[in-house]
């Protein structure tokens, strides 16, 4: 345990942090409470059937999906991050931010688009058959995308940025000195990567991979559509087809316990390690590639962008163009866009503020109970969105009814359900669902700021506010921006909670896309889906600019 104790002031000084964290954790547990309420009403009569016929296969499928997606996002995320930071090649500056673009594609759009594009009667195979002169639609040996392999590929392609984003930020910010030291000691570039860069990146990789895996685990749109029977699909089936919210809540809680245990295990594995290193000049001795090497690097970067973004985006552009040619833009498109951006923006701001508070609390105090609360605050990410939303209904509607009755007893008139009808319930759901992203992102940012900086500031008389506002936040700004971006894009894409908790006459881009896709009028939905993707691209571009500024303006060591 090499970290020196940071707390210089007396013990009571961490009390505000603890109270704040406890309050946030309590709110985060509210939907779990709702699920426990549902689960406890059930008899458990479902379990013999589930254990005999559903869960073993669903658990296997889920494990396979997670393993596949995990490998794909790790390899793509770390590989691309290393390529764009350790080497210079044509197009690198473009790839650096374009590699983030697949983030903006919702999984359900990805599934729709690919099924259409690679279907035997879709454009790809039809075109190839024309070229090759084959008439039978089954004449080409394309594997069916409706399979676990297909789901792994499609989810991996849109989820790898969760790894790429923090790992690249880490490689960029990381001191070149350690790498240089390893090189001067005779390590080759590969060995430096393997023995120095990679171990240092572990917190960022862990955060990124666990976010990506939870997205994959909780995905319902793509998995159900591609016929991949995961545990989440089993929960959904139990609820919707067998009309048993009780049984669904029971499975969801068991799954949650397993996920939470795994997350804690990973953290235990990292306990006591110090990943902080002195800040370098942010340009870790990028090596210039020429000829074949440069071409290979550019191709390697282009491939995930092509498959994860250009293919689905082109599909959307073609479909949207057809729709616009037929009937112009949907009249309310701007209203939906406004709703999506407003709610996603507020949720991103709130989760960043809360994430910063919690991560700072975690740095100020090493008390175990506080760290437990911080982990609990992010628990909503480990639950499928649809289950979280239904769990949240219980406490939120309870509170809402309480307010309504209280107002009624004073004024004589009921104001209705204010939290539900104002959209506050929906905002809360977004925050609970995605809080883990900003906590994790900002924590991994903190892990790169040496504790000695805090101690120096403290010894020079800086208080907590000054330390946070004057030193931490500026140093953390890339991590904060990245985390806020992820939450924003996730909220733009969010579907199940929005469908369940929204107020009257409230449409977002995602709900509109879903409504049209559910009817099969894909073209009508394509315009809105395209706006989701574009709206997701804008913050990506902003972030890219911030990232390059940070790099250029970085102080030299």
């Amino acid at each position: 345990m090499s970290l020196p104790r940071l707390r210089l002031a007396p013990a009571r000084s961490d009390r505000p942090w603890r109270i704040g964290a406890a309050l946030i954790a309590l709110i985060a547990l509210a939907p779990i409470g709702g699920l426990v309420f549902f689960a406890s009403r059930g008899s458990g009569a479902l379990w013999p059937h589930l254990i005999a016929n559903v869960l073993p296969a669903a658990a296997r499928t889920t494990a396979l999906l997670l393993l596949g997606v995990g490998i794909l996002v790790t390899v793509l995320g770390i590989g691309m991050a290393w390529l764009v930071t350790a080497y210079r090649f044509p197009g690198r500056r473009l790839f650096e931010w374009a590699l983030l673009l697949p983030l903006s594609v919702p999984s359900y759009v990805m599934a729709f688009a690919y099924l259409d594009v690679v279907h035997p009667v879709g454009p790809l195979q039809t075109g190839l058959r024309h070229l090759l002169g084959i008439s039978d639609p089954r004449g080409l040996p394309f594997p069916d995308i409706r399979s676990p392999g297909g789901a792994i590929l499609l989810l991996g392609l849109i989820l790898y940025p969760y790894v790429y984003l923090p790992v690249r930020a880490l490689f960029v910010m990381q001191s070149a000195s350690l790498l240089e030291a390893s090189r001067t000691l005779g390590a080759g570039r590969w060995r430096a990567f393997r023995t120095v860069a990679l171990p240092l990146a572990r917190p960022a990789v862990a955060v990124g991979v666990s976010l990506a895996l939870m997205e994959a685990l909780n995905d319902i749109g793509a998995s159900e559509f591609l016929g991949v029977r995961t545990l989440t699909v089993a929960i959904y089936t139990t609820w919707v087809t067998r009309s048993s919210i009780e049984g669904a809540a029971q499975i969801a809680l068991v799954m949650l316990a397993i996920v939470f245990a795994l997350v804690l295990l990973e953290r235990l594995g990292r306990r006591g390690m110090n990943y902080a290193a002195p800040r370098g000049n942010g340009q870790p001795m990028a090596q210039k590639l020429t000829g074949g090497g440069a071409l290979l690097a550019a191709l390697a970067c282009a491939l995930p962008i092509l498959l994860g973004f250009i293919v689905p985006a082109s599909y959307l552009i073609v479909s949207a163009a057809r729709r616009i040619a037929l009937g112009g833009l949907p009249a309310d498109l701007w209203v939906w866009t406004g709703n999506s951006v407003l709610f996603a923006g507020i949720a991103a701001a709130l989760t960043v503020a809360i994430g910063l508070f919690l991560a700072t609390a975690g740095r100020m105090s090493r008390r175990k109970s506080l760290h437990g609360m911080i982990r609990l605050a992010g628990i909503g990410y480990a639950i499928p969105g649809t289950v979280l939303a239904v769990g949240l209904l219980v406490p939120i509607a309870g509170l809402d009814n309480w307010i309504a009755d209280a107002v009624k007893s004073v004024w004589g008139r009921s104001p209705g359900l204010i939290l539900m009808s104002s959209g506050a319930a929906l905002l809360l759901a977004y925050c609970l669902r995605f809080q883990a992203i900003t906590i994790g992102g900002i924590e991994s940012g903190f892990s790169r700021i040496s504790p000695s900086i805090d101690m120096a500031a403290r010894s020079l008389g800086a208080g907590t506010a000054r330390l946070s506002g004057g030193i931490h936040v500026p140093l953390l700004s890339p991590a904060i921006a990245a985390a806020g971006l992820l939450v924003f894009v996730d909220c733009m894409k969010e579907l199940p909670a929005t469908l369940l908790l929204r107020p009257f006459n409230f449409e977002t881009l995602a709900t509109y896309v879903y409504g049209e896709a559910a009817r099969g009028t894909y073209e009508d939905g394509a315009v809105a889906a395209l706006v989701i993707v574009i709206a997701g691209m804008l913050p990506v571009a902003l972030l890219a600019r911030a990232g390059t500024r940070e790099r250029r303006g970085a102080p030299t060591a």
Partner: protein, 344 residues
């Protein structure tokens, strides 16, 4: 900030509502929770508002409609609950989320087998679960649902997930008719005949038939209209034209399996009168025409014709098994899907 504005708005609206309800005026609002897609229900609601002056507010909910109404409890703003699948309608009533409505208009327009005896819910439109067959590769003029398990269709059958309510309701009907053992044998047979994993949507059956991935499949009748009318774009016209539609029966030849979309007045509806007015509007000839034309469903009201694309599929004879008997088997049907590993 947002909620404060809404609070004031809400208080104002509540005041307005209270006064209008007290003075028993016709105009006002009606709040609809629906699992039907907005593109479908919005034209109906717009017309209703135009005719009656009653403003219709709507929330399109996918799953959890019942949970939302239940947890909202006494203060729930929901007036009308509009869902698809008779199983869902019966469940809403069983959970005590609906209230009985007596209306001569509704009783006259809707056949008795498509509504609840106590008026807890009313069916508003019908869809048939039909067989799509390849125009080129299947010669049969008629088929039964049981034929889908016939070994001659080995590797030729496409269908969406067995757990989808459209399929569990069909399987429940087979259980109700043929008994659980025969149903299990049948479902195993269909599974052995699958050309690909059960999945995708109903339209994918037509597309996969066009692609020569399969020869027959099960899907809802209205998709034929959505595809062939060109509403889903030119490719879908091609899919729709690749198939011949057979209105199948069970092996007793009594009729085709249908399901309904329907609605119920919520137990704590603050605007009950308006909800009943909306229900009555939805079975009016004008509204039934919209169901037929916009979504290619079968109207429940006698005298309103289905869309020509649907009419040319043949005359629909509805299987006479009471929907309540079928609904009772739904849970068992869902478990059967797991037991035979239908989606595996």
């Amino acid at each position: 900030m947002l909620s404060l504005t809404r609070l004031i708005q809400g208080a104002a609206a509540a005041t307005l509502l209270a006064t209008t309800t007290l003075s028993a005026q016709a105009a006002g609002e009606v709040n609809v929770y629906t699992t039907r897609e907005p593109g479908l229900i919005q034209p109906l609601l717009d017309n209703f508002s135009k005719e009656s002056g009653i403003k219709a507010n709507v929330i399109f909910v996918k799953e959890g409609l019942a949970e939302r109404v239940a947890t909202e409890g006494a203060n729930s703003p929901a007036d009308l609950l509009s869902v698809v699948d008779f199983g869902n309608l019966i469940e809403l009533a069983d959970r005590g989320l609906t209230q009985p409505v007596q209306s001569a208009v509704l009783e006259e327009a809707i056949p008795a087998n498509l509504r609840d005896a106590d008026g807890q819910w009313y069916g508003l439109s019908m869809r048939a679960r039909v067989i799509y067959a390849s125009k080129d590769r299947v010669q049969d003029e008629t088929l039964t649902y049981e034929d889908l398990a016939d070994p001659r269709f080995k590797g030729k059958v496409c269908i969406r997930s067995g757990q989808h309510p459209y399929n569990t309701s069909l399987i429940a009907a087979v259980i109700a008719k043929d008994g659980p053992d025969a149903a299990k044998g049948w479902l195993t047979g269909v599974k052995d005949n699958l050309a690909r994993k059960a999945g995708g949507g109903d339209r994918d059956v037509a597309r996969d038939i066009l692609a020569n991935l399969c020869d027959v499949g099960v899907a809802n009748s209205y998709y034929v209209g959505l595809m062939r009318s060109g509403k889903g774009g030119p490719e879908q016209v091609e899919w729709g034209n690749a198939i011949r539609v057979i209105l199948p029966t069970f092996k007793d030849k009594a009729g085709t399996h249908v399901n309904v979309s329907g609605a119920a007045v919520a137990k704590n509806a603050p605007n009950k009168e308006n909800a009943v007015k909306l229900l009555e509007y939805l079975v009016s000839p004008a509204a039934q025409e919209i169901y037929a034309k916009a979504n290619f469903e079968y109207p429940v009201r006698a005298g309103v014709a289905p869309d020509p694309i649907i009419a040319e599929l043949g005359t629909l004879t509805v299987d006479p098994t009471p929907l309540t008997d079928v609904a009772k088997q739904r849970k068992q049907a869902s478990e059967l899907v797991d037991v035979v590993g239908f989606d595996g």
